[in-house]
Symmetry: C2
Subunit: 178 residues, 2 copies
């Protein structure tokens, strides 16, 4: 699966939230996410622009845990990249397996995420601890699909939300390490 | 967790099954297991004596999937080693993540396993496709525990089962590749 995604830095969510309602977006849920990023023993993911992450989401007194691999970004304007996810039952043992395979935890990113749906888009409002506030618009595409059309639609949606600047290709991990 | 384990090659299970009943072992279940073993990009698990495996067990029309890391064997007489397991929801995506991290699937081992419990022991009767029939006796220990006592008990149990030879420290993966 390819994740076609554009992120923008914003000062606050007040206008964005009004505009989301105006264009018909539906708020699905709010999540707290705790992401631990790992680096590889045989190459530096900072250089290869890949990412490996264990995400924990507290949900009904339990933790939902997702292991995610992200490939390198595929164009110069967005964060479009290959993404593979698998849900796992236990963050601690998943982390121990990665560490025994010589992967090293590089950083932890914590955020609160409001998730909206609008047609085929997922729109998220992220408050990232020690980094700032961001809007992300995302759509899934097939591996060999032309991503220029979904990308154009994403930027049109940003315009409707009143956002025409502040686009950010760096990950929260990179922004946190500045 | 440390897996203290001894395996023995047998011609057939007839006498073993009789003796298992005689000493009070309880048959818990039968499983079909399909194990895909992976090798690492930064070292050769054949040399380091480690293992990384995705196990699929068909169960009630679904597949139970377990990712397992095994450390190097810790003594000269048994297969005692560190073992870390995590259940995952999807074997295909777990495999894709490993492959994108440059791990390579090395071999697939298929077997039918009868699982018995006897006190603190797990005793398994394995029919391994293209390899043969094996009895395994296993007990879990803590990471800093002296494993000589559980090992002694395991060999005493083998004696009660009428097995005093055929002990095998090589993995099914190694035996399959002979």
């Amino acid at each position: 699966m390819i994740e076609v995604e554009v992120k923008a830095s914003v000062k606050d969510f007040t206008d964005v939230k009004k505009n989301l309602i105006k264009i018909g977006a539906i708020k699905i849920k709010n999540e707290h996410q705790r992401d631990v990023y790992y680096n590889a023993p045989h190459k530096d993911f900072v250089e290869t622009d890949e990412a490996l992450r264990i995400r924990e989401i507290p949900e009904n007194g339990e933790n939902k845990v997702i292991l995610t691999y992200k490939g390198a970004k595929m164009d110069d304007v967005s964060k479009t990249r290959k993404e593979i996810e698998v849900e796992v039952f236990d963050a601690e043992n998943m982390g121990l397996i990665l560490e025994n395979l010589d992967f090293r935890s590089a950083a932890t990113v914590k955020k609160d995420r409001d998730i909206y749906h609008l047609d085929e888009f997922i729109i998220t409002l992220d408050t990232v601890y020690k980094v700032g506030k961001f809007v992300e618009i995302e759509i899934e595409a097939q591996e060999n699909e032309d991503t220029s059309i979904p990308l154009k639609k994403i930027f049109e949606t940003y315009k409707k939300l009143g956002i025409e600047e502040g686009f950010e290709r760096r990950s929260y991990l990179e922004l946190m390490e500045l």
